[in-house]
Amino acid sequence: MNSIEVKNICKSYKDTKALEDISFEVKKGEIFGLIGPDGAGKTTLFRILTTLLLKDSGSAGVEGFDVEKDYKAIRRIIGYMPGRFSLYQDLSVEENLNFFATVFDTTVKANYELIKDIYVQLEPFKTRRAGKLSGGMKQKLALCCALIHQPEILFLDEPTTGVDPVSRKEFWEMLKKLKDKGITILVSTPYMDEAFLCDRIALIQSGRIMDINTLEGIILKFPKKLYAIKSDNMYKLNSDLKECGMCDTVYIFGEYLHLTPKSSECSGLEDYLSEKGHTGIEISQIKATVEDCFMDLMSRHGSTNNE
């Protein structure tokens, strides 16, 4: 059975199309990642699924409930963590937690088992005001508040944006544990490297889903050969490669350039670069990363970024 079913959803804000014909399903008990850059429409999608926003057309269901007709039922069974910290900054950790528990007609005690792992880290600060917590602690508190009523599905909108790498890792470990307890998790992120932590991912760009698959599935589908290349003068290397006419795409990836050659071989490339006066050239064929797939899909969809 599917936890979330989305069919052909469209949503526009005046002239801008935020979502165009979005369809996907999330299976019960999986971590599903929505991966895409800022402005791709991730938050709009979240707000429609959490009953905060009305869609223009299409249908969407959460645990079999319609997001518009049965919004009351949905609100009882979902936990939502918006991208922006939205708990009461002037209430303490404890008070925030208690407030959201009482609103759901339950108590912190009754659900302590579920949040225990996370809450023990917060416990030393329980009388501190939420606004005075560090970024990572804020995220943990927000997660606790979203879990306090034992939701069946968690919606996490960019939970790791602006959080340090250590806290990010911890956060994903917590998500894994929650998954083991049977909670379905829909999570969005602009970080491609978090894709491998999800069971399945959807790549989203300019309001359209470009591909949905497991991470391996997406990478296997990468159609071309991919090379990583490096030399002592990276700036010149970048412009030379773009000029030479032998490459389809050239992108900067950290200390390497990733390029896909036009012909199947790139043997002439090294000679060409030596001629141009490059030293310390390294070329090796590599496996595609999510980011490569994303770039490739993006160029093939011919999408113009209308930011």
Partner: protein, 372 residues
């Protein structure tokens, strides 16, 4: 119902944690009542005046003496001549210059009429009006006396004169504080009801907490009621505090029923809170809410009869005050406190404000549903 209680509890916690809120609730009433009640008065004392006496007769001296004897006027130093009259007012040495023309006494005795000219600095219009009024009173007194003296010379037996005696009902000593305290207390209630409530609702939007609240089973009406109840309570507390300060510190009479005042204030607060709610639906940040509320409040207050009487406004302005809830509230406060009006006397106010309450709450609910 329980949800509303939880929201109210949360709201009170937040209000009392807000550093600017406590002074507003507890200190501002004292400051406003003490400063405004003492400062805002129409009485003007010690007005500098001078006289350009071109007649130099016994009657003109008598007139001068009358002004000097008045507690309101102080004669400034220096003799005036025709040339430096204007200078005197320009340099602000005198607010009032009395010009007594030549043949003043002669004209008065022979032709039974004479004229004096009053030059008044009217930069502050209302002050000028008051000064003119004082001067006129002195002149009328002088006029009667002079006539009596003249008539007496011919016919000492018949001395016709009309004596006027005043009795100011409900505020016998025309005490300005008595007049201001009810109004300013009404103002405090308005401030809490309108400004703080709209800011508090917008705050949830601005901080983003509304997003988290909206995905919970909390219903919209529960959230609004839960958020407005604390301000309703605080505003009524303010009213009680204002009345206590008035009674204990200024010894203001509270002739009518206190319960009637609170009953009317509750109705008034429903109007104020729903206007606050409407404002909150038009704005996204507390700053915007504050500006709009401030703008509306200034108009409400200027047209409320708090400082200037409504009767003195032009007709079109008086018509506007019919739509001003603050005017009704201040009027009722004064009527009940000073005159002891009962329910029957303020029935009209009740009916009008009830209509107002129905309209404003329905519009607020309509707006809130549409926007959020």
């Amino acid at each position: 119902m329980r949800t509303i209680f939880y929201i109210v509890r949360k709201e009170f916690k937040q209000i009392f944690r807000n550093k600017s809120m406590l002074p507003i609730i507890f200190i501002m009433p004292f400051l406003q009542l003490i400063i405004l009640s003492n400062a805002a008065t129409f009485e003007i004392k010690n007005v500098n005046f001078n006289v350009l006496d071109l007649d130099r007769s016994s009657l003109s001296f008598k007139l001068m003496e009358k002004f000097e004897a008045s507690p309101y006027f102080i004669r400034s130093d220096g003799e005036l001549s025709v040339n430096n009259v204007e200078e005197e007012i320009l340099n602000d040495k005198a607010k009032l210059v009395i010009v007594i023309p030549e043949n003043f006494e002669k004209d008065l005795v022979r032709e039974n009429k004479a004229e004096v000219q009053l030059l008044i600095n009217a930069i502050d219009g209302s002050a000028a009006g008051i000064i003119a009024n004082y001067a006129q009173n002195i002149l009328i007194g002088f006029n009667i006396e002079a006539r009596i003296n003249m008539i007496n010379m011919y016919d000492p037996v018949r001395t016709p004169s009309i004596g006027i005696s005043y009795r100011h009902l409900f505020n016998p000593e025309l005490d300005y504080i008595t007049f201001m305290v009810p109004g300013i207390t009404a103002l405090l209630v308005t401030l809490i009801g309108l400004l703080l409530s709209s800011m508090s609702i917008v705050k949830e939007k601005e901080i983003g907490t509304i997003e988290q609240i909206n995905v919970t089973p909390i219903r919209k009406h529960e959230l609004i009621i839960g958020k407005l109840i604390p301000f309703f309570i605080i505003a009524l507390f303010e009213l009680g505090l204002g009345l206590s300060i008035g009674k204990l510190l200024f010894n203001i009479p509270i002739v009518g029923s206190i319960w009637l005042i609170f009953l009317f204030a509750s109705l008034y607060l429903i109007v104020a809170l729903s206007i606050g709610l409407v404002i909150s639906t038009f704005t996204d940040t507390q700053q915007q809410a504050m500006f709009i509320t401030w703008f509306i409040m200034v108009i409400f207050i200027l047209m409320s009869g708090l400082f200037t009487p409504i009767q003195s406004m032009p007709m079109w302005a008086q018509r506007i005050t019919w739509f001003n809830p603050v005017a009704y509230f201040i009027d009722v406060m004064r009527m009940v406190m000073l005159k002891g009006s009962g329910f029957a006397d303020i029935q009209r106010h009740f009916i009008i404000l009830s209509i107002y309450a129905v309209i404003s709450t329905s519009y607020a609910v309509f707006r809130y549903k549409k926007v959020n």
